[in-house]
Symmetry: D2
């Protein structure tokens, strides 16, 4: 049987490169085109040196794209909503990795992104591409939105608690994300200049980060508030750390009443024991007792762990992932596998390295 044809738009960036790598090795996919304005005509390994000798594909110009079975858009936020309709003529299935179709409510989009949504009518069609929450919907979807890298870690870490109704919503939810430099994209700038960025421990967005919006929406849905989102105060901060790939989210949740560790284990196991890409990491000994992105580079795992501070009624939730994999390209491929009804783990078997 012939393989499905996939294409990538905006393929010279880091997410595009990671998608290309995954699709080139995917047993059901033929990567037919990778489009890039800036690199049109060059070999794809000119931008992605790890693909040397693995592909003779060249970047095409976006205007030269031809029909395919699934199209991945790796465009900047605000660009996808202007071109989406055009691309739907080319492909029956689209996964857009920008932030444009993550929020269901155009008001919420306007509030967090500071501009009106120019394709608001499509928002209700788009499925939030998180298989752990929307597996059934993905199987029917024609338009899927990639998820924010930090939001993915935070939502997967917190979903079991919000689903269970344990959270005291009178107390603010505090979410701290620590992020590597690849999350900032492939474009150089003064803050990513190595002498400045190396060894950084930099509060790049202490307040107002846009991934808050996804968090509020999805945790609100899980908590049963519908699309109105979480009413609880959500305090999200993001800090750059010395790392290229990887995100660690630490969240502080306060619970309504006394709970014990066994309850927490039950709640987390119910959510994740059958999930192929979420592992619960909580060990008594060893170096890697909690989730840690160091050993996840290249893997599609989101590792989730927790610690209970019973006296204060606090649960510290930790979630780690590779921002280019489970936080972007890997998660998109997993979503694609759901869309086509394939085994969800196809093309995503790499377990990560140790040590690295």
């Amino acid at each position: 049987m012939s393989r499905m044809r996939a294409a990538i738009v905006g393929g010279s960036g880091y997410t595009g490169g990671e998608l290309a790598r995954l699709l080139l090795f995917h047993p059901e996919i033929e990567l037919t085109q990778v489009a890039s304005n800036s690199h049109a005509g060059q070999f794809i390994h000119s931008a992605h040196p790890n693909l040397r000798r693995l592909s003779t594909l060249r970047f095409c110009h976006p205007d030269d794209l031809t029909a395919c079975d699934i199209l991945f858009l790796c465009l900047h936020h605000g660009e996808s909503m202007d071109v989406l309709t055009r691309y739907r003529y080319l492909a029956p299935r689209i996964i857009d990795l920008s932030a444009d179709f993550r929020l269901r409510d155009p008001q919420l989009f306007q509030r967090w992104y500071g501009e009106e949504h120019r394709s608001a009518e499509l928002l209700s069609e788009a499925v939030y591409g998180m298989p752990e929450l929307y597996r059934a919907e993905l199987a029917e979807a024609t338009l899927v939105s990639g998820t924010g890298c930090m939001a993915t870690a935070a939502i997967l870490g917190l979903a079991p608690l919000y689903r269970s109704g344990l959270v005291d919503s009178e107390v603010p939810l505090v979410v701290e994300a620590k992020v590597g430099s690849s999350a900032g994209g492939a474009k150089p700038g003064s803050s990513s200049h190595h002498p400045e960025r190396s060894g950084a421990l930099r509060s790049f967005q202490p307040t107002g980060h846009r991934h808050s919006a996804e968090l509020i929406q999805e945790l609100g849905l899980l908590a049963g508030h519908g699309t109105a989102g979480l009413s609880q105060r959500v305090a999200f901060s993001a800090t750059s750390v010395e790392l290229v790939r990887g995100i660690l989210v630490t969240a502080h949740v306060f619970v309504r009443e006394n709970i014990d560790e066994r309850t927490l284990w039950r709640v987390y196991r119910e959510s994740y024991q059958r999930e192929p890409f979420v592992r619960i990491i909580k060990e008594r000994t060893g170096i890697y007792r909690y989730p840690e992105p160091k050993i996840l580079a290249g893997s599609n795992f989101c590792d989730v762990g927790f610690e209970l501070d019973a006296e204060q009624g606090r649960i510290v939730v930790m979630a780690a992932l590779d921002n280019l994999m489970k936080g972007a390209a890997g998660n998109a491929v997993q979503s694609m596998n759901c869309m086509f009804g394939w085994d969800e783990t196809l093309g995503l078997g790499f377990p990560g390295l140790h040590p690295v």
Copy 2:
């Protein structure tokens, strides 16, 4: 006039080495002895290679220490309280950099350190060695306690808010510390083995960190609760990051009523405009808009900044320092300068490097 004679006990570790460096260059001090069980007889540069050619001093055995004007103890937690009385015969002034004399209440010590305090009668004598809070007391002190490295950043970052009465104590205080590897000391182990520790983003103490106790005590005193400490819930978590020197503390504080940025500026300026080693860092542009430890290595600054999330009534407080300087040895030298009535900045002029 002759210089004061200083000695160090436990001088082969990282804090001891940093103290030695500072005291060797201090204009009013003569470093006469550095004691170490493990290194007795060797040159001090055998443990501290940056001191090559700067000193011909050799480590002596602790039993061979002779009288001096000020003695610094760099011992493990739990050791100082057993030997302090003995060392007081040698020196009229002692600065103990362990955690043994930081807490005023022996019950609090027992609760956080899991053992009875064996010199509880000395606790009331000891001054918490933070010149910004106890300048006057230090001038009279004969026993000073060094402060915890993460606690120092957290307390200096939060002091203005607690002093001002703005904090809503019904909401928990969340404090996240990110720490470099030198805070773990000079002794190798599996978790500090480079292939495991490099690129780490490791939740080493999500709950129950002992520096919480200092925080609760000192912020409680500032808030007017006396030695009972803060009644507010304090949620402290510590994460290891890829860095050798440096700490960044991010704290999330919620306020009682609407405040604006001008008020915050006023509150912080009142606390720190005359402090030689606390800078308020909050800029509109540039790479280093908030406090960041990267540019503080070797300096005695604690940089403090804040961001207001007015809608949620949240203040994000950030504080950065070099854990071996303002978090340990530098702060001890500043305390010593206070004890002797010298200019507080003596021997602490190095501003840090950029880039580094």
Copy 3:
């Protein structure tokens, strides 16, 4: 058809962990046993956290090993030669990753390793496990020796020049290796303590490195000198750099007469155009113009490049690899594929990540 049973001795170290990862995913192999003295009884993911959920195998004690089709020995240098005979009863094929069976001449072993070889009679049987040089021999071999990580890079980088007869052997060959920390193994020590090893640029073996011996032997054979080895002076130095995985070898070779770049291209293409795991990297533009280990972590490639300084008759040869892959475990799996007559790339498809 049933898969071949493989076992690992000394499986708790870094090379053992990498082998376990590769063998767990190998389509023709069933990993049946992983032995470790120190970890016997524990899950293999206790030492190799990246294997969590991928295997329920536990370490066994070396004494409990049972028969298998191929056995990998990951023991310290000097250990293998004492136990090899015993292990040959368990498996018809053995790959020993220590240095014990790399040299053909027991005198050479004694000179470089400072002790007599205690199984000298086996040296003539052992095949040096470098498929690029000994593909045919590997197909018949029952005892294969893994190759030294730095030696592998140096030999693959230099082989085309020595085979071609271009080298001026009157001039010394200078080989500089830069190495990441994982090459030092999993055992902590003071020089691998993160505060000391981080940011290192450390000449750990300016002279006398044992990998010189392999270089002299293999380049000598290629140059037609037989087992006497290279008569040319070989100046090998090794420097530790800030990196966990990866080696870059830079070699300076002087040629007998004027040559041009076209000749060099021809020489290198003849050697490597059909090799699945050696790429010639030499580009006019871009960031990754020459071989670089950064983008090779987890891959089995050895990237090789060169630059001609025609005026001086100097060729700078650069070769990069992942020391745990092409420098150890990956190369051993490639050798195993040769031994069984399988496609040489089986189980070795991961191309490396970018960026990382």
Copy 4:
């Protein structure tokens, strides 16, 4: 007595920032002006955040510079020679940190820099600013040239051997430099983008590096060849490593006849035992047995060491320094101290940190 007035042109780059830091703390200097085209009008700490609160100086425009006692030029190569004559009206002493006045022979300049020297008549006036070689000349100089950062390490490492006549000049000299990212300057670009530059081990100039020219000139003078330079073949290669500050040069020298380690110690001690900023580092035990830049950040030391491979007649020479200090700004301040007849160590006392 009033202090000397110093000014910096091109003060917003990394060398300019380091100079500003040193001059602000120099006891005999008043830093009166720092000029920058791009930053004119802004506080100097806008570019150099470590100088916050240490100076209220603002960048001026180069056209607004007024007379001073000494002027430092931190311009790009090729710029200084066009403007030098103009600046000499402003200051009786100039230290130019570009490469424009390092070579005595305009032919040599043309060959290595690819353009004609446009102020060739000044070359004979300029003193190569290396106090260890030109102390007497610096005391009389009005125009001093800064030295290349890699060349400085290489020359200081090799000078004793060339001065002694031990070197076999029939064999090529191989010099390998490993360099941190700050040596590339403050301007961002794709190869310094953190995700690409982090963890790099990148052969950025395997052949043809311009610092070769300084090496050939200065070692030639030391060897008694006059300005014709070394006739020996010099093979210089430069590799970027993961580090912000620091250079390690490893050189391989072959000697004419058998020598022993005692001779080498004598040769090195004769050259350096009285030098304030050159230390001979060669120890039998410990982590830091050889020169290493890690512990030199911020210090003005050039650490020099060697190892003898007696059998091959090879000496491995290692030299380490901080490229912004002894490799640029620190060395310029030391030269200035010579020019004014001050104690050479003034303003250069910082010993470097450990660990860091």
